[in-house]
């Protein structure tokens, strides 16, 4: 079987470490280089695994590479993805796909024009509970979906996430897109309206929103509410959650994506911890990206998917400004 040469661009988003280790586990993949203008972020990986390092991602793009994984600050996704596309590399881009609609459209167009594929990194699609929920919905186990109450809680990630110039927004930007993508995937219906509240409630003088409640209406009549808040305190036993209560005409599906955990009480941690033991969604996502490219199939989660869910986050900020719903 033919192999895939993969390069990684930027480790600004911590998911890059997990994607790196996921890639390493795939026999067909050869990691040909890591580019990051901040060397300290990748020093240990470059040293330990002997991966070639590039300070400038354009140098990496000049190598013999089939595909790149982009985990830069949100504001840099577009330029990097477009440069990669022009260099004829397939792209797996961290969410949110971009920070403006226009940016994301250019990314999609550049990939299309260059005949390369663009995948948005939505690992939650690979949570086993989510996959089973999707199957149950398709079997008609709960009749027609009526409404969804979702949460994607987390703690304040700090760093560039709280710098609007680099992130494009706070919690509503960071945490609308995952569950929004799951809802789009489950419902296969267009979003028609968004109403949102977002504010800075957990940390004074934070430059971005850290609390959010996003409400979505779909063309098929389904409505949904999503708590996007960075509301988990330091004392909380885990990083956050991804949950969905999917209400149907004939039943309810409750998804608690990270419920598979033990309760660990260690004096060293000074607090109780939920230690996750479920399947590694990142590994399954990366594997599927590689599989699609090797088999010449369409990637399972597209750039359009990334745009659709980010568009809701952008509409949410519009709605916050107006204090009323906005049509999409």
């Amino acid at each position: 079987m033919k192999g895939l040469k993969v390069g990684m661009i930027s480790f600004a988003h911590g998911h890059a470490y997990s994607y790196f280790h996921s890639l390493r586990q795939i026999p067909e993949v050869q990691i040909v280089g890591i580019a990051d203008e901040v060397r300290s972020r990748v020093d240990s990986i470059v040293g330990e695994y002997g991966v070639p390092y590039f300070a400038d991602y354009r140098e990496l793009l000049a190598q013999d590479v089939d595909a790149v994984v982009i985990c830069s600050e949100n504001a840099h996704h577009a330029q990097m993805a477009i440069d990669a596309a022009n260099a004829k590399k397939h792209v797996l881009c961290e969410k949110p796909l971009g920070t403006t609609l226009e940016e994301m459209e250019r990314m999609i167009a550049a990939c299309k024009d260059n005949g390369v594929q663009l995948m948005t990194a939505f690992p939650c699609r690979y949570l086993a509970a989510v996959v089973r929920a999707k199957e149950a919905v398709e079997r008609g186990d709960i009749g027609d979906i009526v409404a969804i109450k979702g949460t994607n809680h987390g703690g304040n990630p700090g760093s560039w996430f709280i710098d609007k110039q680099l992130s494009g927004g706070g919690a509503a930007m960071d945490h609308t897109v995952h569950v929004m993508d799951l809802m789009n995937w489950l419902l296969q219906s267009k979003v028609t309206e968004v109403y949102a509240y977002a504010a800075t409630l957990f940390q004074e003088d934070l430059g971005v929103d850290d609390a959010g409640m996003v409400h979505i209406k779909f063309e098929n009549g389904v409505f949904a509410a999503l708590d996007t808040s960075w509301s988990r305190p330091k004392s909380f036993p885990t990083w956050g959650d991804v949950t969905m209560e999917i209400v149907g005409t004939k039943g309810v599906i409750s998804v608690d994506g990270f419920a598979q955990h033990n309760d660990l009480y260690s004096d060293e941690a000074g607090k109780g911890l939920w230690t996750y033991w479920g399947d590694d969604m990142d590994a399954y996502m990366v594997k599927d990206f590689v599989r699609a490219l090797l088999q010449g199939e369409p990637v399972p989660v597209t750039g359009e998917d990334g745009l659709r869910s980010t568009q809701v986050a952008l509409a949410a900020y519009e709605s916050v400004k107006l204090g009323q719903p906005v049509a999409l």
């Binding site: 509240y197 708590d227 309810v252």
Partner: protein
């Protein structure tokens, strides 16, 4: 203190049985338009049965009337009781619309009687504890809250619950518990946004409240949930977070294998027993307030505000807009 109970259905039973147990309270009568219901409850509690409110009021001396009739009849009976000079304990919701509720409050004030509304969630120990923890600053300033209250459709057992003009629907009847609690915990509400699916089998609502403080709460209420009744609440603040989930606090499970004979199933009854149930605490508190002339933990004004917020949610559902209060 002498008490008469009107309405001998689900809540009428709870009220009458509680009053019958209280040492300083005498249950002087119960009434229901369904004679068998009144009689059986009277028998259980050792009091007299009546088939109309008028008949009961003309035959017994009462200081307090406890109203446990379907919600659309609250106004009529509360006003009759107040006009007769009786203090009133009324089940929630206070009424089905704000004008009626305010009229009830006015009539009670004009007649010099007190009006208490059964927003019992404030008396549930897990909720009382949350309120205490928030007030004590244990989670800092609250930013985001979520609450949920779901169960079977009560209209499958008592048909009036399915008629919106009689019960008010899931927001006015069920979510009003969480609306009141949120307002108690987080203060006044400045805007309301709601979404709802309503048909004969289900009534499902998601409502978001934004508070004067800037905090936000999303409430979920569901009649027609395919599972056992349960509720959850979560408050996240600048210095911590508190969660409560009724499914996780069942301190007793009784499992009976004998039922296996019929149907091959076993019977499982999860419970969260306490020596004093929240209704005991609530009703004793109301009686104590009348006796000692003190302000109740939940006032009739609070009940009006909760209803105002519920009505705003319904307006938001109708218009599709956020409603400013």
């Amino acid at each position: 203190m002498k008490i008469a109970v009107v309405g001998c259905g689900g809540m009428g039973h709870v009220h009458a049985l509680e009053f019958a147990k209280m040492p300083n309270v005498e249950l002087v009568g119960v009434c229901d338009i369904v004679p068998e219901l009144a009689e059986s409850l009277a028998q259980q509690t050792g009091t007299s049965a009546f088939t109309s409110f008028d008949a009961m009021m003309s035959s017994v001396e009462a200081d307090i009337v406890s109203v446990a009739v379907p919600s659309y009849l609250h106004k009529e009976l509360v006003i009759q009781a107040a006009a007769a000079g009786k203090h009133v304990i009324c089940e929630k919701p206070i009424a089905l619309n704000v004008e009626d509720a305010e009229e009830m409050v006015r009539v009670c004030e004009a007649n010099g009687v007190q009006l208490f509304v059964g927003h019992v969630v404030r008396f549930f120990p897990e909720y009382a504890q949350i309120k205490h923890q928030i007030d004590a600053g244990q989670i800092g300033k609250v930013g985001v809250a979520n609450a949920k209250r779901v169960g079977a459709h009560p209209g499958n057992v008592k048909s009036w619950y399915k008629e919106a003009d009689k019960s008010g629907g899931v927001i006015v009847d069920l979510m009003v518990h969480d609306i009141d609690f949120m307002r108690w915990a987080l203060g006044e509400v400045k805007s309301v946004y709601g979404m709802n699916k309503y048909d004969d089998d289900m009534d499902y609502a998601l409502v978001t409240l934004v508070f004067e403080s800037g905090a936000v709460a999303n409430l979920e209420a569901f009649w027609g949930y395919p599972g056992s009744f349960h509720y959850t609440a979560e408050f996240a603040g600048t210095a911590g977070l508190v969660q409560s989930d009724s499914l996780k606090t069942q301190s007793l499970q009784i499992r009976n294998s004998e039922a296996e004979a019929d149907g091959g199933n076993f019977v499982e009854i999860p419970q969260s027993p306490g020596y004093r149930n929240p209704y005991t605490v609530e009703l004793e508190h109301f009686i104590g307030c009348i006796r000692d002339g003190i302000e109740p933990i939940v006032t009739a004004r609070d009940a009006c505000r909760a209803l105002t917020i519920a009505a705003a949610a319904q307006e938001s559902i109708r218009t599709g807009k956020a409603v400013l209060l």
